[in-house]
């Protein structure tokens, strides 16, 4: 393989020489390219919707979208009020004013529901009245008592608009993305069958619309704040908006922090302006170009791609550090910038290329993910890494050649700094006691595996937020008091028109509404369930002089059909929420607690089973956010498997190419898998689950940690050619590349550990794990790799083979 390495070395030398000859052209081209990309940046968007995790053809998403097409959105912004003095007339007046103001001020409003307009179906003598609960505002305490008694008669309100203990009152706001039609296009609306060519992302609320609505609601709430009424704000769209705000917050702190860390290390390492300015320029410009490409192709910033900017800053610095270290060493001796950079790139070009490729491959493994937003990262992140390489290889030499750089003083050769003494010790220990070192490593790996055993898959968006975040506090409150805050939807397809009007089916719906909240499986107990049966029961009761015993399903199909006509005649549009046009498909809505979707995997199976027995012959479909999350977990599992296998295979192949020896490469990959096992052990100890934020850590880390191994093995190959003695070879390797490995690892580590300051818990976990992995990887490269090399070479020598 030496001839391959030599060819690459020569190629890098020729390329750098060309750049030096045409330095101004190179500078102009790179700045021009950057300019074009930066111009795209205003187009960049953020997408924190749950649907963003799915491909458009995912069956679970299609089912969910079909449900939304038919019945409207199940997402609601929920404003929960806790009046200190309970439900008084004054509070109801306040509620009415708040309800009205929200109705006026919230954009994209589809529906707002609260006790103010809660449906009241009652009889007054011979008249059926369908009205809003507060249409007749209680003027005195007696009327208030009557109103509360009315509320008691309508189970529909419980846990949705008012808690069972009457301590909480909620306002639910549903919104829909409706693009206003310009006046010029109005008249075209008479044309029939205009096809709906909108993408799904345009049909439903986008991130910016959720954010706009959230802000409008918060503005109204801020004007209504008072000491005697606590206010809480939750609901899936509110979570989406909060997630976006959190991502923006973290980006605005973590990216500058990453840049600051890079800046600090460069200053400490090189102690000169060029040593700081050039790498930072290269990295920042490549980052901006990457973001520009994202904007250009319409890739949004998501929970996953938000990691990209800090990652690219930290990782991109490493390339420059390796090259600049060698450049300065040669320049200090020779005083010739051009020759120095040509030699530096000649020597370090191939390892820098290989480290970029392995990092890119680790990231590219995400392309095969079944989670759409992970796949997006798989496309853009490798581009970012390779762009950083391109900028390093072209812009860096151009800057060096154009701008003045002080030569500096060569370091005295006879001194043995502290670092070298440590490296000497490491070389001695690992080459003289290779089995001990390997044995200790094996024991540690075993312990890590044991610690990793409790690690589980998970998906719980709320847990990404800090415990004190508003949306988490609000959702926890609703779960605690009402028993639920998120919807699960069941579609019951009877198979024929008017199938829902059959008394047995309607009775089945009524029974299901009572039985489902009593079911408890795997720690999940839902709060309530409701359907068309509730409307029929309310109407039937009103038809029978409001007698409680008439709150039941009639056993006459014709009466059920006529009661529905009666309800329609009242002018209420509520029926379209419960059944399709032909009364073939009915909807059963379930209010459920917001907990880990992994728990729902089994619960949903039980629920499906129960419903299939309750409605024999009907097609039962579970949809809504909860089944979507359950599917997401399955997608996470398969994505992880595909990603890890791809990363392992490709990176191993690259290592073999780089190192030139198959079994040394395979052996070094064992050392590189060790940090991943170590990270899994940390996850087990800290109860960190495998979810969207942590699932990718393995592939990401693999791509990063092999970088140091590549540098080590590249330098070791040369050192061993000159010094066949293992101890000397390892020592010389560490002398030549050890510092750079430590520096780059420290930069990576520090960069990732800045995520510990993040607002989102998911980012904190990501930072902890990747930072820890880097430390473990460095330790593995310094101890385990030399030990295993010693054993390998000893074994080969004993066999009589040339190592």
């Amino acid at each position: 393989m030496t001839w391959v390495h030599n060819r690459f070395e020569n190629w890098f030398r020729r390329l750098t020489a060309l750049v030096c000859r045409r330095k101004y052209l190179a500078l102009f081209l790179m700045l021009g390219l950057t300019g074009v990309m930066i111009a795209q940046l205003p187009k960049i968007t953020i997408d924190t919707r749950d649907e963003g995790f799915f491909y458009e053809d995912d069956p679970a998403l299609i089912t969910y979208n079909n449900f939304r097409e038919r019945f409207g959105t199940d997402d609601a912004f929920i404003i929960t009020l806790r009046p200190q003095k309970g439900i008084t007339r004054e509070f109801l007046r306040f509620l009415k004013q708040l309800h009205t103001e929200l109705e006026d001020k919230v954009p994209y409003l589809d529906e707002i529901s609260s006790l103010v307009n809660a449906r009241l179906v009652r009889a007054e003598n011979d008249t059926l009245i369908v009205e809003g609960l507060l249409d007749d505002f209680p003027e005195n305490d007696a009327e208030l008592d009557k109103l509360m008694a009315q509320i008691d008669r309508f189970p529909m309100y419980d846990k949705l608009l008012i808690s069972e203990d009457r301590s909480l009152v909620s306002i639910m706001i549903r919104a829909k993305a409706v693009k206003e039609l310009p006046e010029s296009e109005l008249f075209a609306g008479f044309e029939d069958n205009q096809p709906d060519t909108r993408k799904d992302i345009d049909k439903y609320l986008s991130n910016s619309e959720s954010t706009e609505i959230t802000q409008a609601i918060k503005d109204v709430l801020s004007r209504y704040r008072r000491n005697d009424v606590e206010m809480f704000f939750s609901g899936t769209p509110a979570v989406i908006a909060e997630l976006q705000a959190s991502i923006e917050k973290d980006l605005s702190t973590l990216v500058p922090l990453a840049a600051l860390i890079a800046l600090t290390f460069l200053t400490l390492l090189f102690r000169r302006v060029s040593g700081v300015l050039f790498p930072i320029t290269v990295v920042l410009l490549s980052l901006l170009s990457t973001l520009g490409i994202m904007a250009m192709v319409g890739l949004p910033i998501t929970l996953l791609t938000q990691m990209l900017p800090s990652f690219l800053v930290i990782v991109g610095i490493g390339d420059s550090v390796h090259i600049m270290t060698i450049f300065y060493r040669i320049y200090r001796k020779t005083g010739d910038k051009e020759t120095a950079i040509i030699d530096a790139l000649g020597f370090a070009g191939l390892p820098v290329l290989m480290t970029s490729l392995t990092t890119a491959c680790g990231l590219m493994s995400f392309v095969f993910a079944d989670v759409a937003s992970v796949a997006q990262l798989g496309y853009i992140a490798p581009i970012g890494v390779m762009l950083a390489l391109v900028y390093t290889v072209i812009l860096l030499p151009a800057l060096i050649c154009i701008l003045p750089i002080k030569q500096g003083v060569p370091m005295p050769e006879h001194q043995l700094p502290v670092a070298d003494r440590i490296f000497t010790w490491i070389a001695t220990v690992t080459t003289h006691r290779p089995f001990l070192v390997s044995g200790i490593s094996a024991v540690l790996v075993l312990l890590a595996i044991v610690a990793a055993l409790p690690v589980r898959f998970s998906h719980n968006t709320l847990k990404w937020f800090p415990e004190s975040s508003d949306v988490r506090v609000s959702t926890d409150l609703l779960d605690q008091v009402n028993g639920g805050s998120i919807m699960m939807e069941v579609l019951i397809d009877t198979g024929h028109d008017n199938g829902l009007l059959e008394p047995t089916v309607m009775e089945g719906l009524s029974e299901a509404s009572e039985e489902i909240p009593r079911m408890e499986y795997f720690g999940i107990k839902t709060a309530k369930a409701w359907s068309l049966a509730d409307v029929v029961k309310e109407t039937n009761r009103a038809l029978h002089e409001d007698r409680e015993e008439a709150y039941a399903i009639p056993d006459d199909r014709q009466l059920i059909a006529q009661e529905i006509i009666l309800f329609e005649a009242s002018g209420s549009n509520d029926l379209e929420k419960f059944a399709d046009m032909t009364y073939r498909v009915g909807r059963l809505s379930i209010l459920a607690p917001f907990c880990d979707a992994i728990l729902y995997t089994e619960y949903n199976a039980k629920l499906q089973d129960y419903l299939e027995k309750k409605f024999p012959g009907a097609k039962i479909t579970l949809t809504g956010k909860i089944p979507l999350f359950v599917k997401l977990i399955r997608n996470v599992i398969t994505s992880m498997a595909k990603s890890y296998i791809f990363a392992l295979v490709v990176i191993t192949a690259l290592m073999i190419f780089m190192v030139g020896r198959v079994w040394i490469s395979l052996m070094s990959m064992i050392a590189n898998v060790v940090p991943i096992i170590g990270v899994l052990g940390i996850m087990g100890l800290k109860a960190i689950p495998l979810d969207m934020s942590t699932m990718l850590v393995g592939s990401l880390i693999l791509g990063l940690v092999v970088d140091d191994t590549i540098h080590f093995l590249h330098h070791f190959r040369k050192a061993h050619e000159q010094h066949p003695d293992m101890e000397t070879a390892v020592r010389m390797t560490l002398f030549s590349t050890g510092r750079a490995m430590v520096i780059t690892s420290l930069v990576l580590c520090a960069g990732f550990f800045t995520y510990l300051l993040a607002y989102l818990e998911s980012n904190v976990r990501y930072g902890l794990l990747t930072g820890s992995a880097v430390i473990l990887a460095l330790a593995a490269d310094f101890f385990l790799v030399p030990a295993m090399l010693t054993i390998a070479y000893k074994f080969k020598t004993q066999k009589g083979d040339a190592p």
Binding site: L181, Q562, S572
Partner: protein, 272 residues
């Protein structure tokens, strides 16, 4: 029968121009609408009506009704019986539509399965009629003085199904009319030859949808221009949410059998 083609809407649109200019009425447009209001739309009518409700997925619900109508001074009485589907056959619906704003309209529904008539508190007219895209406001007479009229700024005239029409904006004069009818604005297309509203665009108060009223069939029956097929489509943006098609057949006016005695709860309970 109060022809459904004579559905004119009132809506109040606060027309905020950049200069905040107030919306002004055009006397010529008003004069046209007064003539539309005064047009003879027939009395003592009997007709068969088919109502087809179509959702976004193209699924249909079909109902057949027999309808009777009579003018009583400025008020209008109507009686409908469901003929199909079988589950609701013989269900009757009686309406007293009072012209004066102070008097609330009255409605009764007869349920044959219970052999009971129930009065329905109608409330405002913005609610949907029998789950269709038509609201009660669409089906009852509108007071011409409740609105301000002007010619549409985009098109003063147009051609609809080969006939010239005026295009007139109708804006409710006050918020009460908006709340009562559920509409904040309408654009009506009035045929110049026979003063029939053949098309209209309605703007519901919530601002999320737009409704398109389209008379696809218009015939001269007993010298009365009668809409025989009307489509009402509810759209969000460009996309159809759902649609209702009303088809009228066997329309007859001035029927001896249609008198005020027909429009009673007693008669309602007897069926068609």
């Amino acid at each position: 029968m109060k022809v459904l083609g004579y559905a004119f809407i009132s809506a109040l649109l606060v027309l905020n121009t950049l200069m905040g200019a107030a919306w002004a009425e055009d006397p010529e447009a008003r004069s046209i609408m007064e003539k539309v209001d005064a047009r003879d739309d027939g009395n003592r009518s009997i007709s068969d009506m088919q109502m087809v409700l179509i959702n976004k997925q193209g699924r249909k619900r079909v109902r057949e009704l027999r309808s009777y109508g009579i003018d009583k001074g400025d008020d209008h009485l109507s009686l409908m019986f469901f003929l199909s589907p079988a589950d609701v056959s013989d269900t009757g619906f009686l309406t007293y539509d009072y012209d004066t704003p102070d008097k609330e309209d009255e409605q009764w529904l007869y349920l044959p399965a219970l052999k009971k008539t129930k009065r329905i508190a109608a409330g405002d007219k913005s609610g949907s009629f029998m789950g269709s895209d038509f609201s009660y406001a669409d089906l009852t007479s509108r007071r011409v003085d409740d609105y301000k009229y002007s010619f549409n700024k985009q098109q003063r005239e147009a051609v609809v199904y080969g006939k010239k029409v005026w295009v007139i904006d109708a804006i409710p004069k006050d918020e009460k009319i908006v709340t009562e009818t559920g509409y904040k604005r309408a654009i009506v297309f009035v045929r110049q030859d026979n003063l029939v509203i053949v098309r209209a665009i309605y703007f519901p108060e919530d601002g999320n949808t737009i409704k398109y009223y389209d008379v696809k069939g218009l015939e001269l029956i007993d010298n009365i221009w009668t809409a025989t097929e009307i489509h009402m489509t509810t759209k969000k943006g460009k996309v159809t949410e759902h649609k209702t098609i009303l088809t009228f057949s066997n329309v007859k006016y001035d029927q001896e059998s249609v008198n005020e005695d027909l429009f009673t709860t007693r008669r309602l309970e007897k069926g068609p």
